[in-house]
């Protein structure tokens, strides 16, 4: 057998050879003095290399427990997201039902001019809602009398009531179709009433449309509660963020950073928004702001005719006393530094994330 190469010797000394391989090495070394010498040399080399590496060891510290921030299985995050999601689903469902009912009733109205057809549709409705039919027949007269009173408050329902309003409205318009189909004498007035309902519904739709933009803020504006709005700008890197803030931006440790954005806000000389993903479906924004060295007490806009709600003065930071949570933060962080966490999470979760914030290190 030929001599053993270095790699095999090391593998043998490392205990990484299979039993037959190791036995054949031992057999060779037993009858080959040269390889015996080399074996001892390599053994010494391995020992020496191990010693050297042992010198390049960090100070031995206690193995820390897993940081609580790290031991967040996705399940718990899902729990946090669930409530906002449930709300979103409820709103979407309510809007969907409202639109569906609104469209079907307007379809019925479109057919009204033909008496026969309106009877057909009334029959259809009667099949769908026999209880309604029974209700509608004896109470027809009183219903019609009381309608203006009922309709008046519902012409412009508050946004929060949108979800449950469509049903009574639709029921009323169904009652209209029924009563109209029964008697031609009432046709004219019924058509009039139907128009009234239509206009009420149209107003309701306008109200719903007007409500939609306020529910979904414009993407480039980040609401900071009573501090106003920050204008989100271009994406920047960590170095630029550091320059802007004059210090490391605070981030939630161990949550991957998706992007950082420059932001502008009155009263702050530098502002950075850090987008971090908590999991695949949850993104939070950590807002870091360095207060301007020159504090403005008020912003006066000259030349403006009528002060508007969305004018600059409204966006200026108010010198109101900060809430308790922010006071705590202010104690921990430099007083001229503002930091906040925003995201689709409950207030408690956001507060917990705020406590986790740590400076981003290189």
């Amino acid at each position: 057998m030929s001599h053993v190469d270095d790699g095999t010797l090391h593998a043998y000394l490392d205990g990484e050879l299979s039993l037959p391989e190791a036995q054949s090495i031992e057999a060779h070394v037993a009858q080959c003095p040269a390889c015996r010498t080399r074996l001892e040399e390599e053994r010494a080399l391995i020992t020496r290399a191990g010693e050297l590496l042992a010198q390049a060891t960090p100070p031995d510290r206690e193995v820390p427990a897993f940081r609580p921030g790290d031991v967040k299985p996705p399940v718990r995050l899902w729990w946090k997201v669930r409530l906002p999601l449930a709300w979103a689903a409820t709103v979407a469902l309510a809007l969907g039902v409202g639109t569906f009912l609104g469209e079907s009733s307007s379809m019925r109205r479109a057919r009204m001019p033909s008496h026969q057809e309106s009877r057909d549709s009334a029959d259809q409705v009667a099949q769908n809602a026999p209880a309604l039919d029974r209700l509608a027949a004896p109470e027809r007269q009183s219903r019609r009398e009381s309608r203006p009173r009922q309709a008046a408050p519902s012409t412009r329902p508050p946004v929060g009531m949108l979800a449950d309003k469509p049903k009574p409205m639709a029921a009323r318009s169904m009652a209209d179709s029924l009563s109209m189909a029964d008697s031609t004498a009432y046709r004219g007035s019924s058509a009039l009433n139907a128009r009234a309902v239509t206009s009420a519904e149209a107003e309701r739709r306008v109200a719903a449309k007007a409500a939609a933009p306020t529910a979904v803020p414009r993407p480039e504006m980040v609401s900071l509660g009573d501090r106003g709005y920050a204008l989100k700008g271009a994406q920047i890197g960590a170095d630029s963020a550091r320059l802007l803030l004059g210090r490391d931006p605070l981030v939630v440790p161990d949550a991957p950073i998706r992007a950082m954005y420059r932001a502008r806000m009155i009263g702050y000389s530098g502002m950075v928004i850090v987008e971090q993903a908590l999991d695949s479906s949850t993104v939070i924004e950590v807002i870091n702001g360095r207060a301007s060295p020159v504090q403005l007490e008020a912003v006066v806009v000259s030349g403006a005719g009528v002060p508007r709600a969305d004018s600059l003065a409204a966006a200026a930071p108010t010198p109101e006393p900060a809430p308790a949570a922010e006071k705590q933060k202010a104690e921990r962080i430099a007083s001229d530094f503002f930091v906040d966490v925003r995201g689709p999470l409950s207030t408690d979760s956001l507060a917990a994330l705020r406590r986790l914030l740590r400076p981003l290190r290189p």
Partner: protein, 167 residues
């Protein structure tokens, strides 16, 4: 945390910190990165947690080095000069000096040799090292033999050079 990952954490954490320390040369940062690697393991639930952790750690250390290279270059030069300014006077300084010597010797290895050596020293088997580096299993022994020899030689050369320089 699943039970087997908790076990891996208990048995592997120190080795992972050591492995990372020899790449980033900052004990705290090495611990941070090791924690992050385990945090990722909690999410990803890898099949072979130990091998996976070292791959992730190696990638993180590489990213870290790239990012910090520009910022630290100047600092490293300064600290290197400071270390050569006088003989070590106490144990802590001596240990620091030894560490710097080993670091300098490790720096002279090729990236692959260094990686294999550090992985072996972290307790990975030849099979795991082969899977990690893409080497054939039979080549791991050869690579290790070369890496160990170069490390020892580079270290000796460094010490000799220093003695010569000091006269």
């Amino acid at each position: 945390m699943p039970g087997d990952l908790a076990e891996t954490y208990r048995t592997t954490y120190r080795a992972l910190v050591r492995f990372l320390y020899r790449k980033v040369w900052d004990a705290e940062r090495a611990e941070d990165l090791a924690q992050e690697a385990f945090a990722r393991a909690v999410v990803h639930k890898p099949e072979n947690a130990r091998g996976w952790l070292f791959i992730v750690a190696a990638n993180m250390a590489r990213d870290e080095a790239r990012r910090a290279a520009r910022e630290r270059r100047h600092l490293t030069l300064l600290t290197a000069e400071a270390q050569e300014s006088g003989p070590p006077i106490d144990d802590a300084l001596h240990a620091e000096h030894e560490r710097a010597q080993v670091r300098a010797a490790l720096d002279q290895l090729t990236p692959r040799d260094r990686e294999v050596l550090l992985l072996w020293d972290s307790g990975l088997s030849y099979d795991e090292i082969a899977a990690h580096t893409g080497l054939a299993r039979g080549a791991v022994g050869t690579t290790l033999a070369r890496a160990r020899r170069r490390l020892v030689e580079a270290h000796e050369a460094g010490e000799k050079g220093e003695h010569v320089a000091r006269g």
